[in-house]
């Protein structure tokens, strides 16, 4: 965490303390939270390398404490959400600040300072203009979906201009949490014995969104100047060195009612500033990304959704020319289709969900079936699986040794 993070977190904390202390200001203070247990067992038949947790790669228990307060007028609001985690696999206890922010609400704007989760775009588990940090370890382990999103340490301004909104986010860099060899079995071209040293960017990132309702369609345009959230790695004689390359994005989205359902459209251009010519094999080439999705209800408690997605790599010739041996080349256009099927029973206490990624161009699949039962308002359990198959050179297929079955139980208070 650097300067901006420290400043915003301090503002949020100070404001929260002030709000809690002064009864005149804190009209409402609400405390809540949950306890949760999550365990996943590897179902892939694989001889794990030394140092990789093989049979039970995920097993954690956590308590989430949440405090919310606001003053009577609603001009000031605070939220803090901290997870106290006991991770049996990594053998550590840690506190993780999920969110900690303060809001100032005026007639024509809102300012939010602190650690905050931001979600943009209209894709369902496919991201184009949502360039904010994500936790892929949580996602692949089957933790509840909210853990896919990581908070940004940011100052966010929402400016209300008539019926439109301009959002400006200035944030510290925060990387994605990516699968590593302690919990995942993956082929890596880098020597596992070398130490990894990864430099994080020191500067701030900025992201803009301008949105409004245009003829019944939720419309938005986006722009950002920041960094890739996965490091570009190079191996030297003594280490594997990583750094985060510059990334600028520009995009747009539409969402509206169509044929008794909802149609979503999104597009974006990823400008890979540090490798515009595309001949640096360690840095991602620039890309254009497109998404079309449609969802609708097909029965009283049944919903389906389908999406088609494409990533078009720019300068593919330069990429092919400079790719070192040992790396399997990626296609110029990567295409993915997804399907979501949700069925609820017993007054929505029992939910079956199926989400499937189908790598059309890479010939691989990733299927996430799950069943959740709510025993009461406060207690639910979810049993599910993460199943990867298909070509090992595909993005999902590469995860093929990491199939798991998971169980999550949560009690809210």
């Amino acid at each position: 965490m650097d300067t901006l993070g420290i400043i915003t977190l301090s503002i949020a904390t100070a404001a929260m303390v002030a709000g809690v202390k002064s009864e005149a200001v804190a009209e409402t203070l609400e405390l809540s939270g949950f306890v949760q247990a999550h365990v996943a067992t590897r179902t892939s038949d694989v001889d794990c390398p030394v140092g990789t947790e093989c049979d039970v790669p995920f097993n954690d228990q956590r308590v989430q404490l949440k405090a919310e307060a606001n003053n009577e007028a609603g001009s000031l609001a605070f939220l803090g959400k901290v997870d106290l985690i006991h991770d049996q696999v990594l053998e550590e206890n840690k506190a993780e600040v999920r969110e900690l922010y303060a809001d100032y609400n005026a007639d024509s704007f809102t300012v939010r300072g602190g650690r905050q989760i931001i979600t943009w775009g209209v894709g369902d588990l496919l991201f184009i203009n949502d360039i904010f940090p994500k936790d892929w370890v949580a996602f692949y382990s089957g933790l509840p979906m909210e853990y896919l999103k990581r908070g940004s340490d940011a100052a966010k301004l929402d400016l209300y201009l008539g019926s439109t909104t301009l959002e400006v986010v200035v944030s510290d860099f925060r990387a994605d949490r990516l699968p590593d060899s302690r919990q995942f079995v993956m082929a890596s071209p880098f020597s596992p014995s070398l130490p990894r040293n990864i430099d994080e960017p020191a500067g701030q990132e900025i992201a803009l969104k301008y949105s409004g309702n245009l003829g019944g369609w939720d419309s938005a345009v986006y722009a950002s100047r920041g960094y890739y959230r996965a490091p570009a790695l190079t191996e030297t004689a003594t280490e594997v060195h990583g750094s985060y390359a510059r990334l600028n994005t520009l995009g747009a989205s539409l969402s509206g009612a169509f044929a008794n359902g909802v149609l979503n459209l999104e597009a974006g251009y990823y400008d890979s500033e540090d490798d515009r010519s595309g001949d640096n094999p360690t840095i991602e080439n620039s890309q254009a990304r497109f998404l079309i999705g449609y969802s609708r209800q097909v029965g009283q408690e049944t919903q389906i959704g389908a999406q088609a997605y494409a990533e078009w790599m720019q300068d593919h010739n330069a990429y092919q020319r400079t790719l070192p041996s040992g790396f399997s080349p990626r296609d110029e256009v990567r295409t993915v289709a997804t399907l979501r099927f949700t069925q609820r029973y017993l007054h929505q206490t029992l939910t079956f969900n199926l989400f499937a990624f189908w790598g059309l161009s890479e010939d691989d699949t990733y299927i996430i079936p799950s069943a959740r039962y709510a025993f009461s308002d406060d207690l639910w359990a979810e049993l599910g699986a993460n199943i990867f198959s298909g070509s090992r050179s595909g993005m999902f297929g590469a995860m093929g040794d990491n199939d798991n079955v998971y169980l999550s139980v949560r009690y809210a208070f």
Partner: protein
């Protein structure tokens, strides 16, 4: 196909017959369609806007109870029966802070959005089936935000007394295929609110019963403050209680927007 035609033509024929009957029972009564239109108006459109705290108790056949507490804001937005609804969930803890917004139209499908606070996600949701359950309760989305009078054909069966109140007994049949084949409503002749509704399936078995358990005048508007919907097949029932009801509080149109979906208006959400 044949069945559908029969179902629609039945009440139509009855209506024609009633209208044609000189000096018949209906001569002094308003027609069934206007009784239902008035009833929908009294039930869903009272005043220009409304704010209320709504508590739903979802009780299964074994007596196990789940509870949903929310604040509901509603505004009539101009001609043609268009309305906007905003719902903020206070409990259960796991969904606290979730907000839900409906832009209701009578001529086309509603627009619906939901905000999931844990990931700060606003999502437009498909609103094709208004007959699906509202948050797992026995009330449907349509039961919460109302239906169009012309979604059904109506016939006045009789007038009678119910708990000391003069009521119209109206039979309504949905024009499009639905989860019920016909509905009987006991509509209060004075204030127009339904005191009871019974829903029948295609085999003419009674499957759902609505009762207005408490009816009061609030700010000069007759209001059902306690209502129950019971599913006779599963034994599951939902009791809904409206408290802190205020009419004509001056809700602004722009309150029903993504801004407030993300950032609930504290002035109204208590």
């Amino acid at each position: 196909m044949k069945l559908n035609i029969l179902r629609i033509s039945g009440p139509l024929l009855a209506l024609i017959a009633l209208t044609w009957m000189p000096g018949g029972a209906t001569a002094a009564e308003p027609d069934a369609r206007s009784i239902v239109a008035n009833s929908l108006q009294a039930f869903y459109y009272a005043a220009k806007d409304m704010r209320a705290r709504v508590t739903m108790r979802l009780i299964n056949a074994q007596g196990q109870e789940r509870k949903r507490e929310m604040t509901m804001l509603r505004k009539n937005s101009g001609e043609g029966g268009e309305q906007r609804y905003y719902i903020y969930f206070h409990t259960p803890s796991d969904v606290k802070g979730t907000t839900f917004m409906v832009w209701k139209y009578l001529q086309k499908e509603d627009d619906r959005w939901i905000f999931i606070p844990a990931i700060k996600l606003v999502r437009r949701i498909a609103a094709d089936d208004k007959r699906s359950s509202f948050v797992g309760s026995d009330f449907t989305h349509e039961d919460v935000s109302g239906r169009s009078v012309d979604d059904e054909t109506h016939s006045l069966l009789r007038t009678e007394e119910m708990a000391g109140r003069a009521v119209y007994v109206v039979e309504s049949k949905p024009k499009a295929q639905s989860d019920y084949a016909r509905r009987l409503s006991w509509i209060d002749q004075q204030h127009g609110l339904p005191l009871k509704e019974e829903y029948f399936d295609t085999r003419d078995e009674k499957v759902r019963v609505f009762t207005a358990d408490q009816v009061e005048q609030v700010d000069g508007h007759w209001t059902i403050t306690v209502r129950t919907m019971k599913n006779l097949q599963t034994g599951h029932r939902t009791q809904t209680r409206f408290t802190d009801i205020k009419y004509d509080v001056g809700l602004k149109q722009n309150l029903f927007s993504e801004r407030y979906l993300r950032n609930p208006p504290r002035k109204w959400i208590r």
